[in-house]
Symmetry: D3
Subunit: 136 residues, 6 copies
Amino acid sequence: MIYITRKEHFNAAHKLARPEWSDEKNIEVFGKCANVNWHGHNFNLHVTVKGQPNELTGFVIDLKLLSSLIKDLVVEKLDHKNLNLDVDFMKGVMPSTENLAIKIWEQLVDVIKQHNCELHSIKLFETENNYVEYYG
Amino acid sequence: MIYITRKEHFNAAHKLARPEWSDEKNIEVFGKCANVNWHGHNFNLHVTVKGQPNELTGFVIDLKLLSSLIKDLVVEKLDHKNLNLDVDFMKGVMPSTENLAIKIWEQLVDVIKQHNCELHSIKLFETENNYVEYYG
Amino acid sequence: MIYITRKEHFNAAHKLARPEWSDEKNIEVFGKCANVNWHGHNFNLHVTVKGQPNELTGFVIDLKLLSSLIKDLVVEKLDHKNLNLDVDFMKGVMPSTENLAIKIWEQLVDVIKQHNCELHSIKLFETENNYVEYYG
Amino acid sequence: MIYITRKEHFNAAHKLARPEWSDEKNIEVFGKCANVNWHGHNFNLHVTVKGQPNELTGFVIDLKLLSSLIKDLVVEKLDHKNLNLDVDFMKGVMPSTENLAIKIWEQLVDVIKQHNCELHSIKLFETENNYVEYYG
Amino acid sequence: MIYITRKEHFNAAHKLARPEWSDEKNIEVFGKCANVNWHGHNFNLHVTVKGQPNELTGFVIDLKLLSSLIKDLVVEKLDHKNLNLDVDFMKGVMPSTENLAIKIWEQLVDVIKQHNCELHSIKLFETENNYVEYYG
Amino acid sequence: MIYITRKEHFNAAHKLARPEWSDEKNIEVFGKCANVNWHGHNFNLHVTVKGQPNELTGFVIDLKLLSSLIKDLVVEKLDHKNLNLDVDFMKGVMPSTENLAIKIWEQLVDVIKQHNCELHSIKLFETENNYVEYYG
């Protein structure tokens, strides 16, 4: 078994706030992440796939294919978007880095299985100093 | 003359769009940067100051002082904010990286002069691949 | 289960040398790391916590809380300090990166358990080219 | 058990192409990686070793020793070389990042066992955006 | 005047060797960079343009346009290529980082002038530790 | 004219404190940088040289030569050393990053002139967030 990772990135706006809570309560719980008029990040996304290298190509998966799956199913939907308002698979989900990583996993897990390998992990950097890892 | 730089960072939302233009025209000119519901970035900011090292301390400027000037006058006002809506010194200014760098320069140039040194440049990274430099 | 990491840093001096050995023996075993008058590093510290995201906040742990725990219990005690002389929890411990990572784990493991999550790993960079990981 | 990593790097040329296939077929399968006249990369290599810290030194393994093992057995043979033509342990092997990581593992696994510790993983970056991990 | 930079990258093979010299002489002068069967690098390229921000857009130059000029005129011709054999504008030129930077400047200087701004510099990284800057 | 840079690094201990001042006064002026028992950093050093590329080699200067000059005259004397106590060219000099950069310039400026090129600048990173540039 060998693990191969492709790194992609996207830039998005979000805020952490529950609509049923007052602004004061949201600020109390989420601090400046609850800023009413949003804030944003350059997210870095590492998608790791595991499998056996193909005997002829030496590839677990063609990285051009992996990159285009990530772009079509994830990056295209998140890049230059508002995570609270614009993204179908984030509807009704608090856009913490944790939840965003889980939802990105769900977008990719089945389609990657169709290519003789398996999704192993999602590693998502919100900033250089904060990141989340999810293994399903 | 010697040059010393302090790097700070902030996370903000913005969009590039002229209010007097239609959404279509804004998308045509600014592409996905005009997304109606905003997007955002982790900005990295390098502030460079020039002067002579003090004979006793060896400092052009105390970096704790420089850092706190940048935080008070710039980062505090931009971090976890919306550059189009929330920032006094960006009111009425298109928040391109170019214009943001110029406005950051204006916040710092006079106060740094009061500390026996001079602001030399603002270097502002919008992403790892795009950055702007301004020398006044 | 999801894993979230906060990165902090500190700058410290140390030397690798056993007091009961001669300087010659210490140089023989530890090379230039045994320099009598110390040397130092910018250490980067990644603290990874695991748990379930809270249903209301989407957080495994509030990163502001995690950051302040790390700062109070670890960084405050190590930053701009001498690892051989100044740090209570390193007394009598050879300050190799391995041992430092184990001791940092011990400072954090119990207090993190009080916040509905668990310490998963300590990753400690001594330089860009050398790092240690510890999982308890 | 604790894990320690040493990072090294090498610059090499390669191409991904099967000699028994036509140029057209190689381009179809491998894209621009099949460029007849080669291309190349700055590879970054992370070698992770696991074990118990020695009671006297605090070391799982002396990093100067680990670095010189990696240099002698791996970097020396790959740096400024052609992976398809110049490297004894890559003869007859498609030089994908996956296969290269496996072959690097094989060069190191036995010799590291002779030093009271064990090879844990090879992490090999072909570019900043593509990397492979192998655990034996 | 404000300066804006776009970073792009390409992966290429090359060798440093004069065809009229013997292999021995080439090794003597260029060391392992003269390896007969080539070696290669991940090159990082920073292209800096200077001008006035446009009053309506806030842009010195649209970075999507700058990126596509660099890709069409430079990256497309260098990426996954052999710098000694495959590149029209490097024919007969020793592919040192210095000469490559000068030739990249020549590809871009005139076309950038047609967009109300001016090429300021080419910064070309051959490795993380070696880079060249050229200002025309 | 073209500019070429070689990056090297060294790890050192220092403190910022004037021996004729009390500990209290040193702490007041230099903060935690005055810690009596020292602290330390991983310094990154960029040495930039300017000149014309040689017609035969394409080099302003052979980077192996530049690297070995920096190692012999600078890194060897600073690496794993105490900047206040162990370094001949820092005797009697407050080891601020500013002063250290100036002294490194002085070690290199004359010897580089003997190789058909000129020292252009010293860029010295004390941490990822603080750096100094000196042009003579």
